[in-house]
């Protein structure tokens, strides 16, 4: 933890007047930050650290008690037991696929909202996109159970075209996850596109580019940080999900379900902790990889 108090001397030269505890900028910052940082430091960072430590502990096979002996066994199992490896890669694959689907769906909608729709329509669209966001996540996943069910809406709609519901499984999980996180992609991309000045479209058009060329060469590069910002949500949320896959995934297993069963039914907390570090590492690598795109400022 860094100590904001270090900055006190520098601030003393140019005191900020008027606001709470303004006598010393550094001291004020420190005092204001103390409670939230205590909370997040104690309740959260320590919990994350403890999780990591637990993943290095073993478990007594007979009593199920955690044994505080250092071991890498949990991590070895993840790597050596093919099922766990497969599930990890499968989850990352689905999270990536969900992200791509959401980006492809969100970009045209965001473009329409930001650059085509009239202010009135835009307002309505923002509300229409936000509304489902407020509808309970669980309810939305549940709603897709009704869509995919045997004799449900998809079967009914698809019958004339010979299309059948894929049933509960990985395809249904992917569709449901893409559905759940779509607003998290639309909103940042919309905000990003709104910042693109109209004059750039005109300049590009004046230079002879068609609409599609303009989108590809001007709009997409400028919207890219926003898309990446959205992808952080869609990717992270998909990586950790175990609700949607339980509801529409049938017997399919993802990282989330493995962790869930190991905390609950199997009661092997150390292994669950080790397995849960996979999404953390993946997310940290992802955040590190995209830090230069400016996506983090777009969150």
């Amino acid at each position: 933890m860094t100590s904001p108090a270090h900055t006190a001397p520098a601030r003393a030269k140019k005191p900020e007047r008027g606001s709470l505890l303004s006598r010393s900028g550094g001291l004020r910052t420190f005092v204001l930050l103390l409670p939230p940082m205590m909370w997040l430091g104690v309740a959260y960072l320590a919990a994350l650290a403890a999780l990591f430590i637990t993943s290095l502990w073993g478990q007594n096979d007979f009593t199920g008690d955690i044994e505080r002996i250092w071991t890498l066994d949990n991590y070895r199992q993840i790597w050596e037991i093919p099922v766990y490896r497969t599930i990890a890669f499968r989850t990352i694959g689905i999270a990536a696929l969900v992200t791509v689907i959401d980006a492809v769906l969100a970009f045209p909608i965001a473009l329409y909202m930001a650059k085509v729709a009239s202010p009135r329509v835009r307002r309505l669209l923002v509300i229409s996109v936000l509304m489902p966001l407020w509808a309970s996540y669980l309810v939305k996943a549940y709603a897709w159970r009704g869509m995919f069910s045997d004799g449900g809406v998809i079967d009914w709609l698809g019958k004339p075209f010979g299309i059948q519901s894929p049933g509960y499984g990985l395809a249904a999980t992917t569709i449901t996850l893409a559905y759940l996180w779509l607003p998290y992609m639309i909103l940042p991309v919309y905000a990003g596109l709104e910042r693109v000045p109209d004059s750039l479209f005109e300049a590009s058009g004046d230079l002879g580019a068609g609409a599609l060329t303009t989108i590809r060469r001007v709009v997409l590069p400028m919207a890219f940080p926003a898309i990446v910002a959205g992808s952080i949500f869609t990717f992270s949320l998909s990586l950790g999900d175990f609700i949607a896959v339980t509801i529409v995934g049938g017997a399919s297993q993802l990282i989330g379900t493995v962790v869930y069963t190991n905390v609950g039914v199997a009661n092997n907390l150390p292994f669950a902790a080790a397995y849960a570090t996979i999404p953390v590492v993946v997310m940290l690598v992802y955040l590190y990889a995209v830090r230069r795109t400016g996506a983090l400022e777009n969150l």
């Binding site: 933890m1 709470l20 930050l33 999780l51 045209p108 509808a135 990282i255 905390v263 849960a276 999404p279």
Partner: protein, 269 residues
């Protein structure tokens, strides 16, 4: 705008189509709450109000609803205090560790919920030896709700700058008087927006809650999840789901009333 008409039409149709797909499942939940058939075959063979009647008298659902509201209120209150403090602290644009603080506040929501959930579960049970229950849910929810208040407060103080508070100080008001008479009124709508988001986030949360709720306490999402796969409870679950879909219009309406814009971005020039 120089987007040609054909592309505009394509974008319009595409947007309309996706919105139809977005709303279809939600409408389906609502219609199915009147579906006579317990397994929700489509189209419904008939309609009934029985499930609504059952749901209204379901004590499990009602208790869970009360728990959810209590948890959300407490978590929001804690998040309001901590998020405001952090937002005010970070108003100075430069100081060492600023990014670390922002990251730490965002982390509980940026990391997959299952990680936050299991980390807190482990900390509560193994490290602190606590029983999981109401208190642990509130702590967990407050942790990931701080970010919504923080974001709103920070955006507001950065947009408004310190000049009003400086004027207040120049006119002789002490720091607390300035906070009460200048800073707080300035922040009020941002705080309401942040609180609304925090409440919604907490009310809806299930992943972290699953790991931090004890066996004998149920929030509404947990109640739904546990009854989802019980065939004789399915119609009641569906009614609760329908009610939640309808209720999701309330925060949108409130946000519209409170701040005039639903997201900060929609009012940006």
């Amino acid at each position: 705008m120089t987007i040609d008409r054909r592309l505009k039409a394509v974008l319009r149709v595409f947007t309309g189509l996706v919105l139809v797909i977005v709303y279809t499942p939600l409408v389906l939940v609502f219609v199915n709450s009147f579906n006579v058939d317990r397994t929700f075959t489509w189209p419904p063979p008939g309609y009934t109000l029985d499930w609504w009647d059952l749901a209204i008298h379901s004590s499990g659902a009602r208790d869970a609803l009360v728990t959810s509201i209590e948890v959300a209120l407490l978590a929001t209150a804690i998040a309001l205090v901590l998020g405001t403090l952090a937002g005010l602290a970070l108003r100075r644009t430069r100081f060492f560790g600023r990014n670390v603080v922002s990251l730490l506040i965002i982390l509980p929501i940026a990391l997959p919920g299952i990680v936050t959930g299991i980390a807190l579960n482990n900390a509560f049970r193994t490290m602190l030896g606590l029983e999981l229950g109401f208190f642990t849910i509130v702590v967990a929810h407050a942790t990931f709700c701080i970010v919504t208040v923080f974001n709103n407060v920070q955006a507001r103080v950065q947009r408004l700058g310190p000049s009003l508070e400086q004027a207040s100080a120049d006119l002789g008001a002490g720091p607390f008087k300035t906070f009460r008479l200048v800073t707080f009124p300035m922040l009020r709508s941002a705080l309401l927006a942040g609180a609304l988001l925090a409440f919604g986030l907490s009310f809806d949360e299930i992943v972290v809650t699953t790991f931090t709720a004890g066996p004998d306490i149920q929030t509404l999402p947990i109640w739904i999840f546990q009854n989802l796969f019980r065939p004789n409870q399915a119609p009641v679950v569906n009614v609760v789901a329908a009610v939640l879909v309808l209720l999701s219009a309330v925060p949108i309406y409130l946000a519209q009333r409170l701040s005039g814009d639903v997201v900060n971005t929609s009012a940006a020039p």
